[in-house]
């Protein structure tokens, strides 16, 4: 198979009738994710008709509208619930869910852990920019302690959630992390998630200079990109590091990959049992 050029992929997978330019700020990581996602989709061999892209509300939630697939921009935090209904209704569809950290972990945290536990075959892409971008830089569940936000003017006093760790604990089949700086790795991980059976999560660390960086006296989005480059350490190396060396950094790559009974397979068994019992007159 010849690998199609990026231009071909972009031309093929982005909508032509959608009015560009997109809504994102200059220097935002979401455009990089959009590129990586469509390249991963193209590489997966799926056709556009086989994919549904679902999102919640926020800057990240605006991603699906640009992609030429069935795209559903839902309510804040609830994207996974809509996706659950879609996947159960049309199991042959590949359903990808794009959420921000507030979307996925604050208002939608309950849905995220239950989706991971249920292990329905969905791909969750959580864009972690450590803030509520769209609403103007308030703190989110992943904002680091001490950071300044529009609702923590004196410094943030709550500890942060590790999204990947939460999903791993809740039972996801695949958990991975990358940053928008490590874009090749991001593309590979997205492809792996698309091919994985079961619930997979890709956490994508991304800069929000407009609403997070500026408040925290970072010089530019370029500085924030450099930071992501330094903070993200391949998991193989990270595992060998001491607690002290790990401080301020996070592991990249596949953090969990396990084979678990999938919800759809189990539900098909339920249907078989129910039909059998009915035919025997037992229910």
């Amino acid at each position: 198979m010849t690998v199609p050029s990026t231009q071909t992929v972009v031309y093929e997978w982005l909508r032509h009738d959608k009015k560009f330019p997109h809504v994102w700020c200059p220097g935002c990581g979401l455009g990089i994710l959009l590129g990586a996602l469509v390249r991963a989709l193209a590489a997966s061999g799926l056709t556009k008709d086989q994919v549904a892209l679902v999102s919640g509300i926020g800057c990240a939630g605006r991603l699906p509208v640009y992609v030429d697939v069935g795209s559903i921009h839902t309510t804040h935090g609830r994207a996974l619930t809509f996706a659950t209904g879609i996947k159960l209704s049309k199991p042959e569809l590949t359903v990808v869910v794009v959420m921000g950290d507030g979307d996925a972990m604050a208002i939608g945290g309950n849905h995220l852990i239950h989706a991971a536990r249920r292990n329905l075959d969905l791909v969750a892409v959580v864009v972690n920019n450590r803030t509520f971008g769209m609403t103007g830089g308030q703190f989110s569940p992943t904002t680091p302690m001490g950071a300044k936000t529009t609702t923590a003017l004196y410094g943030h006093i709550e500890p942060e959630f590790d999204i990947a760790a939460v999903c791993a604990t809740a039972g996801a089949a695949l958990v991975a992390r990358s940053t928008v700086y490590h874009v090749d790795r991001l593309e590979r991980l997205l492809l792996q998630a698309l091919q994985k059976k079961g619930f997979s999560v890709v956490e994508v660390m991304s800069p929000c200079y407009t609403n997070f960086g500026r408040q925290n006296l970072m010089a530019s989005h370029v500085v924030m990109m450099k930071q992501l480059k330094e903070q993200g350490i391949p998991v193989e190396r990270w595992q060998k590091m001491s607690e002290i060396e790990r401080r301020g950094s996070f592991p990249l790559g596949v953090l969990v990959d396990r084979d678990l009974p999938g919800y759809l397979d189990s539900y098909r068994e339920v249907c078989k049992t129910a039909a059998k019992l009915r035919s025997e007159g037992k229910i």
């Binding site: 009015k19 559903i72 609830r78 619930t81 209904g85 209704s89 129910a274």
Partner: protein, 378 residues
């Protein structure tokens, strides 16, 4: 023709039978008294048919899953009661905005908050109309018997499909848990309406473009029609817009698709209205007491009649207005402090006395209470 057997059913069970007859093939819910029997029976029946049942983590998730399923071509339903209905409101508005067919059953119990979970009330009448934020059209139906539970569930699905909109079935604890003898129609005799799907090839499909009906055709997700769905105001292509002309056109159509069909949506029954001087307007469990009161009153020589409302929203103005003509007085018994009476008052416009009979203690209004009030009025 197969002879249909009479069966002893609960209101909640009849809702499930009605839903299945209407083609329901997706249910997502979260347990809550007094609606749980609907969910339990669905969990037994849907897997037998190879269709989808799922218990979600809360009511927000339940309606979210139903909307997703509705977009993917399913006939989806969820069932809940007060607290869960409150949680569903945001996604309910989404279904209005994205024009997604879905049926939401709210079995009313005494509220607000946890209230009296096992006691009857009719306090969610205005919530059904205005529960979600923003101005929006709404269809709500209200059964008073087990047979009506069956019939109106079928109607609810048909309206949802025909109008591409969420429909509320407003039952109550008394109707839900009453067992009555019903003869269910043969499934083939049930009129079932399906959404209109596009007939043009995918390349020509403009998801929110409409013909004279004002109701756009809905393609199942994943069938080659790639389109965008959003809760933001959108243009004909489904893409977000704030352009004045597009926004205005969108809202106008959203309301007009339902307001134009008021006559079709009106659903009332009348008892002894011909020579009636004292009118009762009632719905749900209170209509049961009202029917009994009319029978007793007639035996005692009182010229009393009942207009029962089976459709609450859009409010059936025309039949209510006609029934009000020439009456000495109108009594509106309901298990709230007058939520429907205010609608009757608006239609009445000073013509006759509109009197409430209201209760909030979790018990039914009795026929004798209605008769006593009527005697006082007379």
């Amino acid at each position: 023709m197969i002879k249909r057997q009479a069966r002893l059913l609960q209101g909640n069970e009849a809702i499930v039978h009605g839903a299945l007859a209407a083609g329901c093939n997706f249910f997502a819910g979260y347990p809550i008294t007094p609606s749980s029997e609907i969910m339990e029976l669905m969990s037994r029946e849907l897997p037998v048919r190879g269709d989808v049942f799922i218990q979600m983590e809360d009511e927000i998730a339940s309606l979210g899953a139903c909307i997703g399923a509705g977009l993917a071509g399913r006939k989806a339903m969820t069932a809940t009661s007060g607290p869960g209905f409150s949680l569903m409101q945001e996604n309910f508005g989404y279904a209005c905005m994205a024009e997604t067919p879905v049926v939401v059953v709210n079995v009313m119990r005494a509220g607000p908050s946890t209230g009296m979970p096992t006691n009857v009330a009719q306090g969610d009448v205005q919530q059904a109309r205005w529960g979600t934020h923003g101005d929006h059209p709404c269809i709500a139906l209200c059964p008073s018997t087990v047979a009506e539970c069956y019939e109106l569930t079928v109607v609810a699905f048909n309206h949802a499909e025909r109008f591409r909109t969420p429909v509320v079935l407003l039952s109550d604890e008394m109707v839900a848990h009453t067992r009555e003898k019903v003869v269910l129609p043969h499934p083939e005799d049930v009129e079932v309406i399906d959404r209109r799907r596009p007939t043009v090839p995918p390349d020509w499909y403009v998801p929110y473009k409409t013909d004279g009906s004002l109701i756009p055709r809905l393609a199942d997700l994943g069938e080659g029609y790639r389109y965008h769905v959003t809760g933001l105001t959108h243009d004909e292509r489904g893409f977000p817009t704030r352009r004045l002309d597009e926004v205005q056109q969108f809202y106008t159509r959203l309301f007009a698709k339902i307001s134009r069909q008021f006559h079709y949506l009106e659903n009332v029954k009348d008892y002894y209205l011909d020579d009636c001087e004292l009118l009762i307007i009632a719905y749900g469990c209170s209509a049961r007491s009202a029917r009994a009161a009319v029978r007793l009153g007639r035996e005692r020589g009182l010229k009393v009649g009942l207009l029962q409302l089976l459709s609450l929203w859009p409010f059936p103005r025309r039949p209510v207005s006609e029934a009000l003509n020439g009456k000495i007085a109108v009594l509106v018994p309901e298990l709230n402090l007058g939520q429907l009476r205010r609608e009757v008052l608006r239609v009445n416009d000073g013509r006759t006395a509109v009197i409430g009979l209201n209760k909030l203690d979790g018990t039914m209004i009795t026929p004798e209470e209605i008769l006593t009030r009527l005697r006082v009025i007379k």
